[in-house]
Amino acid sequence: MWREISKFGKKMVQCGLTHSHFGNISVRVGNKLIITRSGSMLDEIDENMVVELDLDKPGSFDTIASSEAIVHRHIYKETSALAITHAHSPFATVQSMVSSKNILIPTDCESKYFLHEIPIIIGGVGSKELAQNAANALKDHKGAIIKGHGPIAMGKIVEEAFVTICSIEHACKVKYFADLLLQRKE
């Protein structure tokens, strides 16, 4: 399973969706979740850079897991997700910071069709508040943006969650330039 995580970890960094040291990826396997380790580099994941956690109860292995493990666990428990990706992509982060609303509506055709709308949620790194807000948002959305932090997405496989992160970033990038040009025009 670490190979799948490694493949999309590399892609996330190569695509500029996150820098090497930021972001995290996990997969649910039965009542376990396999997640990238704290301090690991997303584009250099090997079998030692992931850790298996119990889905139902935190344990000692949580201490070496990504600090967002609490958020991943909560999403798995409250949604049908089997894979989660989280990035610190710049356009999504910027859009979440300038938006005064808690929903971002994509303007481009593809994103409107694929995402409909993107919730903007709040909560500190690795906090219970963020865990709850993320789980609530992903009950009926493919992905969300943590305000000032970055997008988080779910899927049945890692690739699906990766595609959603790409879509969110694309939607935010297009919206950013469209808004900029519209402002200039006005």
Binding site: S38, S60, F61, I64
Partner: protein, 578 residues
């Protein structure tokens, strides 16, 4: 003066005299407090070659500039002396409330010299120092002494083992907090000093309260954000490590012959939490609260090191037995790592599978210094040598290795080998970067890049031991935050680099002390087992050429010559007078 009290108490037991000595700001700025102050006193006052258990040795107690403030994890103090176990300079620090109370009583430290004719204890009450009769306390163990003296203040004391000169006897404060490892309790016993009681109501003055408040909040925020300090240690104590180290194949098993214990789950933090109702018993000003006991009892939950030594290393899978062994050690005042490791060495030598009953019996015999305990109380190095099998003692410079197999954490292997006090994980806790990924995850199975990292972390930890704050806070809080809050408290501007330089100065003084005690680069090594055997993981034995290259690189980073001797230029740079 802000932060510090600017004075120490000196007690001459032979002459039954006490004295208050002022310390100037420049001296304190160079050595800070805790380990730094103690090391400087021992370096200046202890003559080379003396017997650590003679009246010529001294015993220093020192708090730091942050001790007694509300700064997170600052409730610590250090003890320093020449160790009867290793013969090296030896510092040991402890939490609880004794350190802050020493500051409230008006002193930054206490230096004990000479030897009392009869058992005594020292009482310090709001600046007044007294030597008192302790004949009624002699022969009693630590809990009883604590109970008897705590009505007068916070207590640091020894048990029977310290009186009887067990080479790894501890000083115990506030009942269960320990200045452990190097036998400073035996030094205390050799001076006929049973206890120290401190009490006071002096407030620690802070130079800039607004700045202090800001940095206090920064540190608190970082501690809360880190899963290691706010979840792992807080939830499971240090026992959180058992399952982790077992999974990573670094849990010492059967005296380090193996690195995985089949029954690790039975002695893990998770198991303890599931069996016992736990009550947290935090040290002064500590939000992490890793110290725990069983609710409605006075039974302390053992630390990871204790569990790994009495558990996996002695192949005991009953957590209740480990808790009893831990309790006995605390009662007698003996170090759990050295006790467990020496018993594991004994079991290997005798080819014996230890039963729960046998383990407890051996602990008791060591504490009482009776039967086979008379041999074991010398520590594993002397025991194995006396039995003509020195290679089965798992020690460096005479100090038994703690609960991490160095074959699976090579930065820590270098840290063990170069530690000034011997086989210790706390001089450079490489488990942070190599296991927890704090501050940054590094590859644990290579020496590459480790020599530079180890010496920087050693310098940082030495400074932290001199502030004195808890090393566990270093999972989340870096030198910059410590420098900031130290500046706010003292009114003297410290930056990260100055803290590291202070650490480096103290480290080099320790090295100089050891060199005069005939230690050399030949002692900067590991037990042969780690080079010859793989511990059950194919190919994991440490390659001698890689180890040697890393050691030489370490000397070069330190500004030492190829023999590991500090150069004149380095000493001049650190302002150390020979």
């Amino acid at each position: 003066m802000f932060g510090w009290n600017g004075k120490i108490a000196k007690v001459y037991l032979t002459e039954k005299k006490t004295e208050t000595v002022s310390l100037d700001e420049e001296f304190l700025t160079n050595y800070l407090g805790g380990r730094g102050l103690g090391v400087k006193f021992v370096y200046d006052l202890v003559k080379p070659g003396i017997d650590p258990l003679s009246s010529e040795n001294i015993l220093a107690f020192a708090a730091g500039p942050l001790t007694g403030t509300s700064c997170p994890t600052s409730g610590r103090y250090a003890t320093v002396s020449k160790s009867p176990l290793t013969g090296s300079i030896f510092d040991s620090n402890s939490g609880g409330n004794f350190g802050p109370e020493l500051k409230f009583a008006g002193f930054d430290g206490l230096v004990v010299l000479g030897k009392a004719e009869e058992p005594v204890y020292i009482e310090i009450h709001n600046g007044k120092i007294s030597i008192k009769d302790a004949r009624h306390l002699w022969g009693k163990n630590t809990r009883e002494v604590n109970r008897e003296l705590s009505k007068f203040g916070r207590v640091a004391c020894i048990g029977k083992a310290g009186e009887k000169g067990v080479r790894f006897a501890n000083i115990m404060n506030d009942y269960t907090h320990t200045c452990g490892r190097g036998g400073l309790g035996a030094v205390m016993g050799s001076k006929n000093l049973k206890a120290i009681v401190v009490k006071g109501n002096k407030k620690i003055s802070i130079s800039d309260r607004e700045r202090y408040k800001k940095y206090f909040q920064d540190i608190t925020r970082l501690l809360v954000a880190s899963p290691v300090s706010s979840k792992g240690l807080s939830e499971y104590g240090t026992a959180v490590l058992v399952n982790l180290t077992n999974y990573m194949r670094i849990l010492p098993t059967g005296n380090f012959r193996f690195s995985r214990f089949d029954f690790a789950e039975e002695i893990s933090g998770e198991k303890i939490n599931s069996v016992f109702p736990i009550k947290k018993t935090p040290c002064y000003a500590c939000p992490i609260a890793c110290k725990r006991e069983v609710r409605n009892t006075e039974i302390e939950v053992p630390e990871y090191e204790t569990i790994s030594m009495f558990g996996s290393s002695c192949r005991i899978s009953n957590i209740q037995t480990i808790m009893r062994a831990n309790r006995l050690c605390n009662e007698y005042g003996i170090d759990t790592i050295t006790t467990g490791s020496t018993i594991a060495c004994y079991a290997e030598l005798k080819g014996e599978e230890l039963t729960d009953e046998k383990l407890l019996e051996l602990v008791e015999l060591i504490g009482e210094r009776k039967g086979i305990g008379q041999e074991l109380c010398e520590g594993s190095m002397r025991f194995a040598r006396a039995n003509k099998n020195p290679d089965i003692s798992m020690q460096v410079k005479g100090l038994e290795l703690p609960g991490y197999d160095p074959r699976g954490v090579l930065g820590l292997a270098l840290g063990y080998a170069t530690s000034n006090r011997g086989g210790c994980h706390l001089r450079a806790y490489m488990i942070g970067p190599e296991i927890f990924g704090k501050p940054k995850l590094v590859n644990r199975l290579t020496f590459s890049g480790k020599s530079g990292l180890v010496q920087v972390i050693q310098n940082l930890f030495t400074a932290v031991d001199s502030l004195v704050v808890c090393k566990f806070a270093l999972f989340s809080v870096g030198e910059e935050e410590w420098a900031n809050i130290l500046s706010a408290v003292t009114g003297i501007e410290f930056v990260s680099e100055s803290l590291l330089e202070i650490g480096e100065r103290i480290w080099n003084i320790e090295r100089l002390f050891n060199l005069t005690e005939k230690f050399s680069n030949k002692d900067d090594t590991l037990p042969e087992r780690f080079f010859q055997e793989d511990g059950g993981v194919e190919g994991r034995n440490i390659k001698k050429d890689e180890f040697r290259a890393s050691l030489l690189e370490y000397y070069r980073f330190r500004g030492w010559d190829r023999e590991g001797i500090p150069t004149k230029e380095k000493l001049a740079q650190l302002n150390i007078q020979l």
